[in-house]
Amino acid sequence: MKPLSGAVCLIALAAALAGCGENEQVVVYKQGHYQGKADSKPWDNESFSGDKGNWEATIKARNQSQNEYRRING
């Protein structure tokens, strides 16, 4: 009986010590990456036919229409 009780003691000791492991408790967040569909550029359409410069110039001119001093004086 002695070897059996010794084995039981060893197993119990191992099981008790298993709870003492120091696992990493801090969650490591990973930077996500966009998983959806790819979007097209605003100049990739019939109006601008892929001409990025033309689109930028149009938006720039359009932006100035919000400037009341240019709108009134210009």
């Binding site: 959806g36 569909k37 938006i59």
Partner: protein, 208 residues
Amino acid sequence: MARMKFICDAERCIECNGCVTACKNEHEVPWGVNRRRVVTINDGVPGERSMSVACMHCSDAPCMAVCPVDCFYRTDEGVVLHDKDLCIGCGYCFYACPFGAPQFPQAGAFGLRGKMDKCTFCAGGPETNNSEEEFRKYGRNRLAEGKLPLCAEVCSTKALLGGDADVLADIYRQRVLTRGKGADIWGWSTAYGKPDAPATAPAAGGKS
């Protein structure tokens, strides 16, 4: 490359809700969803201030950070958009957003929450530009038409400006340098001529 932003001048906003109405109409936004709202602080108290608020297209957007399915992306123009086909309507982005921009359509008897909807800076979404599909999911794509967000373009007092951040900063700077700021921009003399530039006298024989 332009970096698209909104700016709202609380001194100028008259709480007309023109921006809200224009947005809802342009994108045919359903009931219960407001991509843009006018918020009034100290409502009814002298000195109240109103401000038009929507998605501010943050440079470091918290909605992007918390989204569990990573359905957000930022375009080269700095516009924060999302893919509705991927959105699960969990609402994390709503809790993360400091502006309350993400909106969720409520449908059904038990308030079933739909996919998130928010201001797109009139830039549509990840569908073919100006397609029927894009309009149905995200609304009109005015940027692809060479136009700017309608809310800003329709603003009668030009309190709300939208477009390239550098250009907006120049417009705002010129405004402040020309008209002053704070209490200086109000009053009879500002509206009808300052002492150094008095209003012209009425024509002879005219009504006094």
